[in-house]
């Protein structure tokens, strides 16, 4: 049941329900400290050409592989074929057979092309990958992805990097009621309460990058996100009070002087 069992993807269990991206940091040491502060166990990476001039440092020098599982993405891919290609290249690098599968449909919104995404998911699942597709908040598509063998489904809350929060919590809720594999809200989170809201819905996890990397103080924001995800998850488990239109006193009148 969503949000209850520990987060399990493929056969790995993860203590933290927060997955963090490695992009957009001012420098690697800041990224490294932010990852630590976030308490995450899984970080996303991209597959790109090595830079042959020795000037740049390597990302991997700043990621402790004993501490963090790597989740390679297929960011920047606009077709199933291209995404499949990048997933295979990622696997060749040899540190993970998981893939955050992105097939982008439009440059301005970076919304997924679900038709191509489903195609790529089927190919990669058959090919033995643990596939985590980045999709929109369409419960019907979420079900198709689960049926295609996705290890988790990652609906967006809002456009990548927009910080608009969970635009349509009602759809996320319906996705949670519709599929059995873990639901990880990916994209849209702007601040701590957004992450808490995602978890309060019963989501199994949250994935974010810009909200941390783009904050004025990424390390502090990473800590905020760790606590927000835990807070939202605990609140989900604790069972919130119902909303009421009127007040209900927390102090009884009984025992007042008549």
């Amino acid at each position: 049941m969503h949000g209850h069992a520990p987060l399990k993807i493929g056969d790995k269990e993860f203590d933290s329900r927060l997955i963090v991206g490695t992009g957009k940091y001012s420098d690697f040491p800041t990224m490294q400290k932010a990852l630590e502060a976030s308490g995450t166990n899984m970080v996303t990476v991209a597959v790109r050409r090595v830079n042959l001039d020795r000037t740049q440092e390597s990302l991997l020098d700043y990621i402790d592989l004993k501490r963090y599982a790597l989740l390679p993405n297929t960011a920047g891919c606009y077709s199933a074929d291209e995404a499949v290609k990048y997933a295979r290249l990622a696997r060749e690098v040899g540190m993970s057979n998981m893939v955050k599968l992105e097939v982008i449909g439009d440059q301005r919104t970076l919304f997924p092309d679900n038709e191509e995404l489903l195609k790529a998911t089927k190919i990669l699942v058959k090919d033995g990958f643990i596939v985590l597709p980045y999709t929109n908040d369409d419960p019907i598509m979420a079900k198709k992805l689960e049926d295609a063998g996705a290890a988790a489904v990652m609906p967006l809350g809002a456009p990548i990097g927009s910080g608009l929060g969970i635009r349509n919590p009602h759809n996320i809720l319906i996705i949670l009621q519709t599929i059995k594999v873990p639901v990880i809200v990916d994209a849209g989170v702007g601040t701590a309460s957004d992450a808490a809201i995602a978890m309060e819905l019963g989501s199994d996890g949250v994935l974010m990058n810009t909200a941390i990397a783009g904050a004025k103080d990424p390390i502090k924001m990473a800590e905020a996100m760790r606590k927000a995800v835990e807070a939202g998850h605990l609140a989900f488990l604790a069972g919130r009070i119902p909303r009421k239109s009127y007040a209900s006193a927390s102090t009884t009148m009984e025992g007042m002087i008549e």
Binding site: G21, V47, R48, L52, N73, E92, M95
Partner: protein
């Protein structure tokens, strides 16, 4: 001979293997993926895979991303 490496042309010795190329580039074989003319070269083939003049070689690794 000339090959194209990550989009830039480069001079390498004739019959250079993928392994030789990586060594020459000083790249950790355990941390890269190699594609030659659209085919991914599996790690176990690095020693046997011989490059030809004009090959388009891509060497990729993990970079920052969300």
């Amino acid at each position: 001979m000339q090959i194209t490496l990550n989009g830039k042309s480069r001079e390498v010795a004739d019959a250079t293997t993928v392994k030789a190329l990586l060594d020459e580039l000083g790249l950790h074989a355990m941390r890269v993926a190699v594609q030659v003319n659209l085919d991914i070269i599996k790690r176990e083939q690095y020693e046997s895979a011989v490059l030809n003049a004009g090959d388009k070689v891509e060497v990729l690794t993990f970079m920052a991303g969300g």
